[in-house]
Symmetry: C2
Subunit: 188 residues, 2 copies
């Protein structure tokens, strides 16, 4: 587990990723924008339609066995063939955050199989999770708790749809109070 | 569990808390300063000898049973009689952060009894944990992973010494690579 990496998702009129769709799944949508930059280095504040920031972190729920299974199968971001991406910002309810660690783990994995479902789509669908809830960047609090970024080849698009469908049908998702689904394509 | 609260600990020449001692337990010390302010509201950047920031967050390891036991016994900060305080900033090693969730929980509680030890000193020693590792406030990363703030009455000072002694003797503490121990008194 490397040092936490602060990542900015900057939507506006430039960037290597073209936004092909943006839909509110639960709650409010994000404003429409044409393109997106995912910046892994600190960037100056610049005009954008919206900017979301999150930080990679240590595992919060994953057990050693699960971490090893993930590590054995997953591939990194930036694969040439992975021209499709999705950015799925999520906020969970106060009821979720009020649960103790063992209760959240039971809902998330023992009952909802969140980690196991993700494993089913490796290595085709690469994934990186960014945490926002505890960033402390804004006095008002962050609009989302998590930003998940997925990358996959066009051939895996149907698999990706099935992945998000399965996750949205879980008990864990009853605690999601805002979810936006942004789809992107990279120019070749 | 309330919304995360960003707290600044500002050491310099003013503030209601007088710094009576500051010692490096493991690794580098913090520069000497006379007084400290704990600011729970966002504060403008102001000259200080050092400023540390952390954010309260959801439980990361605590089970429901433990959370109920804590809730039943703990008291809040700011009690009139609690004129003594300690601020203990800690950084853990990369080896700790590389462990999976179940491994960290096993070391921290099943083997080190961190939560149980804290319970032994409630309600006399009030405690609030602040997370820094994933703050994203500084490109260089934060100097500490956690800031723990304790408040107790002068009569509980020996109990507090015993609490920190017991924690420092645990297996969990082998993963601590920097620890500073700042002691404070509030003017009455």
């Amino acid at each position: 587990m490397a040092t936490p990496l602060l990542v900015s998702f900057i939507a506006g009129d430039r960037g290597p990723w073209r936004i092909v769709a943006s839909a509110a799944v639960i709650g409010d949508a994000l404003p429409a924008a044409a393109r997106l930059t995912m910046a892994e280095a600190p960037v100056e504040d610049r005009p954008s339609v919206w900017t979301l920031r999150g930080i990679t972190s240590n595992h919060r729920y994953t057990s050693r066995d699960e971490a090893l299974a993930l590590r054995a199968r997953q591939q990194g971001l930036g694969r040439t063939e992975a021209r499709c991406a999705a950015l799925i910002p999520i906020r969970k309810s106060a009821a979720w955050w009020d649960l103790a660690q063992d209760e959240r783990r039971a809902i998330m994995e023992e009952r909802s199989r969140h980690i196991a479902i993700g494993l089913d789509y490796l290595p085709a669908v690469a994934r990186r999770l960014h945490h926002c809830r505890d960033l402390g960047l804004s006095a008002a609090g962050e609009p989302f708790d998590f930003l998940t970024w997925f990358e996959y080849a066009p051939e895996a698009a149907a698999d990706f749809e099935r992945l998000v469908e399965r996750l949205r049908a879980t008990e864990e998702w009853r605690f999601v109070e805002r979810e936006v689904d942004v789809r992107l394509m990279r120019d070749t």
